[in-house]
Amino acid sequence: MDNLGLIGMISIFTAGLTIGLGAIGPALGEGRAVASALSALAQQPDESNTITRTLFVGLAMIESTAIYCFVVSMILIFANPFWDYFTQQTGGGG
C-alpha cells in the first residue's frame, strides 16, 4: 500500500477510535454528576437554583474533554496536515 492510502486509512481509523473512546469517559462522568445532582435536588429542593447552576458548569467542564476528542477527530478527517502534505507532494492525487 502506498503512503497516501496508509495515511488515509490510519487517520480514519484513529478518528473513529478517538471519538469512540472520548465519548465513553465523559458519558460516565456526566452520568455520575447528574445522578448526584438529582439526589441533592431531592434532598434540598430549596437550593435548586444553586445546584442546577453548579451542575451545568460542571457538565460543561466534563463535556469539554469529549469536545476536545471531537475536534481532534474532525481535524483528522477534514483537515489532516499529513494528508495535505502528501497530496501536494504527489501532485494533488488525492
Binding site: 437554583n49 444553586t50 447552576r53 451545568f56 458548569v57 460543561a60 463535556e63 469539554s64 469536545i67 476536545y68 471531537f70 475536534v71 474532525m74 481535524i75 477534514f78 483537515a79
Partner: protein, 259 residues
C-alpha cells in the same frame, strides 16, 4: 457550510490581495447590527409607568435575569460586571440563535475558532482588570502566591489553559452542531436535520449561559471579596425583599378593601 470546511473562516466572500472578507467577519457584523439595532429600537421609547411596551418588557427580563445571576455568583453588587458579562452572553446567544432564520445561509460566527479565541482573550484580560480595580495591583499579585509561592507555576498554567479551554469548548460545541446538521443533510435530508437543529438551539443557549457563568466565576475568584461588601450586599437584598413583601401585603389589603 460545506462538509469539508470545518470553520466559516474558510468560506471566503470577497478577496483583494491579502484582505479577505470571510463568513466569520460578515456574520459577526450581522449579529452586531442586529443587537445594536434592536436595543436602539427598544430604548427609544422607554417608560417607567405601569404600561410598558412588550419589547421593553423583554429587555427588562433579560437584563434583570443576568443581574440576578451575577449577583448570586459574586455575592456583590452586579452593576460593575453587568456590561461585560451581559455583552458576552447576548453576543453568543444571538449568534447561536440566528441559525433558525430561514432563507439566509448563516453559519454562527462562534463556529470559528478565531471568534471564540477572541472572546476568551477578552475574558483573559478582564480577570486582571477587574481584580486590580477591586483590590489594587498588590492584592491581585498576592493571588498568585497564595497559599504558597510554590503554586506559582501551576496558577500561571491554570490561567492559560482555562482560556484555551474556554475557546475550544465554545468552538467545538457550535461547530459540532453545524457539522452534524451538514452530515445529516447529506445522509437523510428529510426530518432528522430539523431535530438536530432543535437540539442545536438548546445547546446554543446553554453554551452562551455557560460561557458567561464561567467568565463570571473566573473574574469573581480572582478578586478577593471583602467581607464588608458581602454584608452590605446581603443587607440590600434583604431590604429589597422586605419592601417587596410589604408591597404584596399592601396589595392584598387593598384587594380586601375592595371586596
Amino acid at each position: 457550510m460545506d462538509l469539508k470546511q470545518i470553520s466559516p473562516d474558510e468560506v471566503v466572500f470577497w478577496q483583494w490581495r491579502f484582505v479577505t472578507v470571510n463568513a466569520t467577519l460578515v456574520y459577526t457584523w450581522v449579529v452586531m447590527i442586529v443587537l445594536v439595532f434592536c436595543s436602539w429600537l427598544v430604548t427609544r421609547s422607554l417608560s417607567t409607568g405601569p404600561k410598558i411596551s412588550r419589547w421593553q418588557n423583554l429587555l427588562e427580563v433579560i437584563v434583570d435575569g443576568i443581574r440576578g445571576e451575577i449577583a448570586e455568583i459574586t455575592q456583590q453588587r452586579p452593576e460593575r460586571y453587568l456590561p461585560f458579562i451581559g455583552t458576552l452572553f447576548l453576543f453568543i446567544l444571538v449568534s447561536n440563535l440566528l441559525n433558525i432564520v430561514p432563507g439566509f445561509v448563516y453559519v454562527a460566527p462562534t463556529a470559528s475558532l478565531s471568534t471564540t479565541a477572541a472572546l476568551a482573550i477578552c475574558v483573559f484580560f478582564a480577570v486582571p482588570i477587574y481584580s486590580i480595580a477591586n483590590d489594587g495591583i498588590l492584592g491581585y499579585l498576592k493571588n498568585f502566591v497564595r497559599p504558597t509561592p510554590l503554586m506559582l507555576p501551576f496558577t500561571l498554567i491554570g490561567e492559560l489553559s482555562r482560556t484555551l479551554a474556554l475557546a475550544v469548548r465554545l468552538f467545538g460545541n457550535v461547530m459540532s452542531g453545524t457539522k452534524i446538521v451538514a452530515i445529516l443533510m447529506a445522509v437523510a435530508p428529510l426530518i432528522f436535520p430539523v431535530l438536530m437543529h432543535v437540539l442545536g438551539l438548546l445547546t446554543g443557549v446553554i453554551q452562551a449561559y455557560i460561557f458567561a457563568v464561567l467568565a463570571m466565576v473566573y473574574i469573581a475568584s480572582a478578586s478577593r471579596v471583602r467581607e464588608e461588601e458581602v454584608q452590605e450586599y446581603r443587607l440590600i437584598v434583604q431590604n429589597e425583599k422586605q419592601g417587596h413583601d410589604q408591597k404584596l401585603s399592601q396589595g392584598h389589603e387593598g384587594l380586601k378593601d375592595h371586596g
